[in-house]
């Protein structure tokens, strides 16, 4: 049984006019203990929405239409609000996109970590909780005495580390890192990624990394899930996705990314934009931008097919296509 098992999750945003915009449709994936999953896709393709839905932290307009989210066999979507509050952070925690905004600017880093420990009763006693906070900071490479400082006194990379320390406070089973390296320079990105990989191995975490940076995914993820406009177009092992992409979107996405081994290769951009959520095409959502789309792509929604072991692709054209 996978630690985190998401099945057929669909999320809608309701507009003021009462229209439901389908932001994530039929998303399924599994993550095992000690494994990492990378979720990639363009901005606005629903990556963060899916993550917030797992934690049931969607903004007010967001609704989970259907699906199940099993965390160690327990369906999170059926839990009461109180149960959910206990599970958050103790079982599943998240490092938010842009750590600079996710820390309370008027409280010290230490007090914010202590708060987590106290809410979940990991350390009830203030003195011991502070010691534990220091240990957590040390784990991510921040000198414990700097816990007395405020977020604005930290650099971007340190804030990201502090967020990771906070995320690990209650020994969660699943750690979600939402764009952990955005807004950091490459050196710091590498540090943060190394840190995440190290912690994932030593703490045996199930790690989900949400990003639009394929390099990050290639670096540390066992499995990759490619999203486009709220749907999963392809999932598989990192090796399968990077070396044998089957879905035309994955293919073009990889071509749009510079390759260190052939630096002179042309970067191909994908013409057009992702569809607006209120004007979704009736068939495959990628069809309007797809260079090989056929008639039925525009009419019929493709079902994901398992083309190899644990390599799924949602494309009508796959069976007839060769690389």
């Amino acid at each position: 049984m996978a630690t985190l098992d998401v099945r057929n999750l669909s999320v809608c945003y309701l507009t003021d006019e009462g229209v439901a915009l389908n932001a994530a449709d039929d998303v399924s994936f599994q993550v095992d203990q000690g494994k990492s999953l990378g979720i990639v896709g363009e901005s606005g393709c629903g990556k963060t929405t899916v993550m917030l839905a797992l934690l049931r932290l969607l903004p007010e307009a967001g609704r989970i239409m259907e699906g199940q989210v099993f965390l160690e066999g327990k369906d999170l979507l059926q839990c009461s609000e109180g149960e959910m509050r206990n599970l958050r952070w103790s079982k599943i925690s998240i490092v938010f996109q842009g750590a600079m905004n996710a820390l309370n600017p008027v409280r010290t880093i230490e007090s914010q970590i202590v708060e987590v420990l106290k809410i979940h009763g990991v350390e009830g006693q203030s003195q011991r909780a502070r010691v534990r906070a220091g240990e957590l900071l040390e784990l991510v490479g921040i000198p414990p005495e700097r816990g007395r400082q405020y977020p604005h006194q930290y650099s971007g990379g340190m804030r990201q580390r502090a967020m990771i320390a906070m995320a690990l406070a209650c020994n969660p089973r699943v750690l979600i890192a939402d764009e952990p390296t955005t807004a950091l320079d490459v050196m710091i990105q590498a540090q943060i990624l190394n840190l995440l990989r190290k912690l994932q191995k030593s703490l045996n975490l199930a790690l989900i990394i949400v990003t639009h940076d394929l390099g990050v995914v290639a670096e540390i993820c066992d499995d990759v899930l490619v999203m486009y406009s709220g749907t999963v177009v392809e999932t598989g092992s990192g090796d399968a996705i990077f070396n044998h992409p089957r879905h035309p979107y994955t293919e073009r996405l990889l071509q749009a990314f510079p390759d260190i081994e052939s630096p002179n290769a042309d970067l191909v951009s994908i013409p057009g934009n992702p569809p607006r959520l209120d004007e979704l095409p009736p068939g495959c959502r990628f069809a309007p931008r797809c260079h090989i789309a056929e008639e039925r792509c525009h009419i019929e929604v493709p079902k994901p097919i398992e083309i190899e072991h644990r390599h799924w692709c949602a494309c009508h054209l796959y069976p007839g296509r060769r690389e």
């Binding site: 952070w89 103790s90 996710a102 008027v106 409280r107 906070m166």
Partner: protein, 301 residues
């Protein structure tokens, strides 16, 4: 939170207008607390008066002259500060407490509760305060605590609106989402994550509202609705207006008026300086503050 208040004080100290306001307010607070030492006479004391003592002009023994009952005006003025300040402070703290609670709840929860509360605010805002207070006092009867209650219960509306507008923007910030993700309850998020951030603005607003409360009390007393057992500045004005003005006894009329102006100006100077400091738009980055830079180095090394 403490750090924040210290920061405010550090900036406040360097603003002459604010310090003048602070001095003006605290000189009166000091005199009011130690009234028995400052007042040359006890206003409650029974005294023997001759007709020539009534409304006697100032002289060496009575620096501000005597009132229509032959009592020392200066002593009444000093004891009157106690009443006016008590009303000012207690009523504005009460208003701040209600306003903050309403603002936090309305802003954070929004929806039906928020709407209901804000409509109540609108309702109270459109009714002129003074006539409404007069109605309440005439129903409940006159008394110091009733006056405080009336001013407090009607004076929270602007605070509520101000706090609500801040909370509306704060609750969308990401650290609130993060706080939810760590499993914090709504109450905890409000108290630990949102309230500390609106505190400075509440502080400035409270200080500003003290003068409003003092003036309200004076108006009520001037109109004859004050506590009959206690002589506040407004009450003195009322007496002077009724009994002394026809005899040109300016020493009875002017001092309480000036006292009210003195405290109000002091409070407003202080409040607007505080507002200037805590207004987020006027805040500078810590790197532009040399003292903070040094401090950072100390902590880091």
């Amino acid at each position: 939170m403490r750090e924040q208040l210290q920061e405010i004080w550090r900036t406040f100290r360097r603003k002459p207008m604010g310090m003048i306001g602070l001095f003006m307010l605290f000189s009166v607070v000091f005199i009011a607390i130690f009234a028995p030492w400052f007042a040359p006479y006890d206003p409650g004391e029974k005294i023997h008066v001759e007709p020539k003592d009534l409304l006697a002009p100032p002289d060496a023994e009575h620096l501000l002259g005597r009132d229509d009952a032959g009592k020392d005006v200066l002593s009444q003025l000093i004891y009157g500060a106690r009443v006016s300040l008590t009303v000012g402070f207690v009523a504005s703290f009460m208003a701040m407490f209600i306003g903050t609670t309403v603002g936090l709840v309305a802003g954070y929860y929004g929806g039906r509760i928020g709407n209901a509360l804000m409509r109540l605010v609108d309702f109270l805002l459109v009714i002129p305060d003074l006539p409404l207070m007069m109605v309440f006092i005439s129903i409940w009867g006159r008394g110091l605590w009733k006056i405080i209650l009336v001013i407090g219960l009607l004076g929270w509306t602007t605070t509520a609106r101000l706090v609500r507008s801040q909370v509306l923007s704060l609750k969308e910030r990401q650290f609130v989402l993060r706080a939810k993700a760590i499993g914090a309850s709504n109450f905890r998020i409000i108290m630990r994550h949102i309230f500390p951030q609106v505190l400075p603005i509440i502080l400035a607003e409270t200080v500003l509202s003290i003068s409003g409360a003092i003036i309200d009390e004076s108006s009520l007393s001037f109109l004859g609705l004050g506590d009959p057992m206690l002589v506040s500045w407004g009450m003195m004005l009322n007496f002077a207006f009724e009994r002394a003005i026809s005899r040109m006894a300016w020493w009875f009329l002017l001092p309480p008026g000036f006292a009210i102006v003195w405290v109000s100006v002091g409070v407003v100077l202080m409040g607007s300086t505080l507002e200037e400091i805590v207004n987020p738009r006027l805040k500078t980055h810590h790197l532009f503050n040399p003292a903070r830079m040094l401090e950072l180095f100390k902590v880091a090394s």
